[in-house]
């Protein structure tokens, strides 16, 4: 008894201290980050500090892999890069609120934020293209824009109405706030759609792919990096979803992956962003992970969707 009591006490106290430490983690991170930022000004030779990138799960694999390699480089070894998911909305909120150094997003900040978007600086690091996919048993090779609109707005509910076999259409969507869905709706359908009765909404592209590949009559959309033989990739207006077609601008269903900073980035953040924009990463990791390098794009697109060469 005598021995147990103090032990229990110490354990609980330790727990309390740990909990308290957890609570103040954010402010600590902030203060250390700002502290190191000041240090950088005095010693410009070697950068040090921590970089926190939060947001889009679609961009996360690329940023994570780039961060690993970045930290392994000898001149950046004192910079600590942390990458977190959480979604585009979280990324934009945290970067404009100052909790994160970089906010990763699938969409332009202007589409989610209002006035706060003006303070954010856009760094486009890659391009992601999406393709409509169906269950292989549907047996369709091509869908026009109008057919896709009819399917996703519920005007057409059977595949035979668009030239397929007699089978009910099952829509597998991403949630209405998802960046992937926004891109698909904006550039493939040209209109936003509501969640139809009986349609399926899934949180991740992996689950969408699993359900589309298993459910007869299912249709969904996936980023090019997710495509394989399990699902049938459908041509859009007769154009195949390939890297070349996206780069030349003939295949329109694509979007930039953005890394936003608030104002001009701190030196260590800028070093990391420059590293991602470097040829080594753009032609290496970006391609390897199924994204398209921004430098390869022959067309450009602004916030309003206007295309320029």
């Amino acid at each position: 008894m005598k021995l147990k009591k103090p032990l229990l006490m110490i354990c609980t106290l330790a727990l309390v201290v740990m909990l308290a430490a957890c609570g103040s983690k954010d402010t600590q991170g902030d203060s250390s980050a700002s502290g190191t930022a000041n240090n950088d000004k005095s010693s410009s030779t070697e950068l040090s500090g921590s970089v926190l990138a939060v947001g889009s799960t679609a961009l996360q694999p690329l940023v994570e892999q780039a961060a690993q390699k970045f930290m392994a480089e000898s001149q950046y070894s004192k910079i600590q890069v942390q990458v977190q998911g959480g979604g585009s909305g979280t990324g934009l909120t945290q970067v404009s609120g100052g909790q994160a150094d970089i906010g990763n997003s699938d969409v332009f900040a202007e589409e989610k934020l209002k006035d706060e978007a003006k303070d954010l600086v856009d760094h486009q690091v890659a391009v992601v293209a999406m393709a409509a996919v169906t269950n292989p048993d549907v047996g369709l090779d091509n869908l026009t824009k109008q057919q896709l609109v009819d399917i996703f707005t519920g005007k057409v509910t059977n595949w035979k109405e668009v030239g397929g076999k007699d089978e009910a259409i099952v829509i597998v969507n991403r949630p209405s706030s998802s960046g992937t869905r926004k891109t698909f709706e904006k550039y493939a359908l040209g209109t936003s759609t509501e969640d139809l009765k009986g349609s399926i909404q899934e949180e991740s592209s992996g689950t969408v792919k699993k359900i589309v590949s298993e459910s007869p009559g299912a249709i969904g959309y996936l980023a090019l990096s997710y495509l394989d033989d399990k699902v049938k990739v459908v041509k859009y207006e007769g154009v195949e979803a390939t890297v070349e077609n996206v780069a030349s601008g003939t295949y329109p269903v694509w979007a930039y992956e953005h890394m936003y900073t608030k104002g001009e980035p701190k030196p260590e953040v800028k070093a990391f962003l420059d590293y991602i924009a470097s040829d080594a990463v753009q032609n290496g990791d970006v391609v390897e992970l199924g994204y398209i390098p921004v430098s390869k794009m022959e067309v450009k697109r602004d916030v309003d969707g206007n295309i320029s060469k």
Partner: protein, 311 residues
């Protein structure tokens, strides 16, 4: 203690010293527990305050009416069809439907399991079932969801009409998840019954089945119901496993095999993609507030059941 043996001092001062020591110990213990309790209360209150301040902003700052929120059937926070609509009735319906159905499936199974463990085969039955049920309780919900998606959903798709996704699949997955909760509460209640009750029943010539159905079950019914309510509370709050198999269409489904949503599934689905402070995000917090409110009600029901049991 040692110091006292070596140096015999006046009795009065020794007693006061000992008294002081005990007093100090008492004080230390008191203040230590008080700090722990205060911390706990602060944490709970700040959580409630945070959720409430975000959740109530939907109504007070963003001007969504409570009636439209609770009883509206259209969920269109992005305003795809004109005005944004924040009707969460389909999600409340989905949450209740899945958790009630799950409790309905799980209760008979768990009551039978606990009877088997405590009354019918108390020896090897308990030795075999106890670890199995504890194991069930320890499996993470992602695993349940994944199994649901790979096993339950294709099974439902092949056997029933529809895509296999929906309330039925969600309830089935949940029922396995709440099985351990109900079983352990029920078997605890059963094993705490006074021996005399059963023995007098046997002495009166009742068979084992008669004893179980007429004496034991009616006596422990309130405790079993407590277990069922606790299980439902868990089912109501479960997010991940349900979200993976229910389909997440924001509509009240026409059948058990059609895509539906629960409060938790919508929150997990949307929260990463919304911007803090927007009405959409606040509406999600309001749903969290509704969930918390439901939990309070479940706790209240459990309290009432316990009180009835005591009398």
């Amino acid at each position: 203690m040692k110091a006292m043996d070596e140096r015999p001092v006046q009795v009065g001062s020794a007693r006061s010293a000992r008294f002081k020591k005990h007093h100090a110990e008492d004080l230390a213990g008191r203040s230590y527990t008080f700090i722990c309790v205060a911390l706990l209360i602060v944490i709970i209150i700040s959580i409630i305050y945070f959720v409430a301040s975000k959740g109530l902003a939907t109504f007070f700052r963003d001007g969504v009416s409570l009636g439209d929120f609770l009883f509206g059937t259209t969920w269109d926070p992005e305003g795809n069809q004109g005005e944004p609509m924040y009707g969460v009735l389909p999600f409340i319906f989905g949450s209740f439907a899945t958790s009630l159905l799950a409790a309905l499936i799980a209760s008979p199974l768990s009551i039978c399991a606990s009877l088997f463990m405590t009354e019918i085969v108390p020896g090897w039955g308990k030795k075999l079932l106890q670890p199995v049920i504890e194991l069930l309780a320890g499996i993470p919900s992602v695993v349940y969801g994944f199994i649901g998606l790979t096993v339950v959903v294709p099974f439902m798709r092949n056997v029933f009409p529809g895509q296999g996704i929906g309330i039925a699949a969600g309830a089935l997955v949940l029922s396995v998840m709440i099985l351990p909760t109900i079983t352990s509460v029920a078997s605890d209640a059963l094993s705490s019954l006074p021996r005399g009750l059963k023995e007098s029943s046997f002495a009166l010539g009742a068979t084992r089945w008669q004893t179980i159905s007429r004496v034991i079950l009616p006596t422990v019914l309130p405790s079993i119901l407590t277990g069922v309510v606790l299980g439902m509370a868990r089912a109501f709050g479960e997010a991940l496993a349900v979200q993976m198999v229910i389909g997440n269409a924001p509509h009240i489904p026409r059948s058990l095999f059609e895509s539906a949503s629960t409060l938790t599934s919508v929150i997990t689905l949307d929260m990463g993609n919304t911007v803090m402070g927007s009405t959409h995000s606040n509406a999600l917090w309001s749903m969290a507030l509704a969930l918390m409110f439901m939990t309070f009600i479940f706790v209240l029901i459990v309290r009432l059941l316990e009180r009835r049991h005591r009398i």
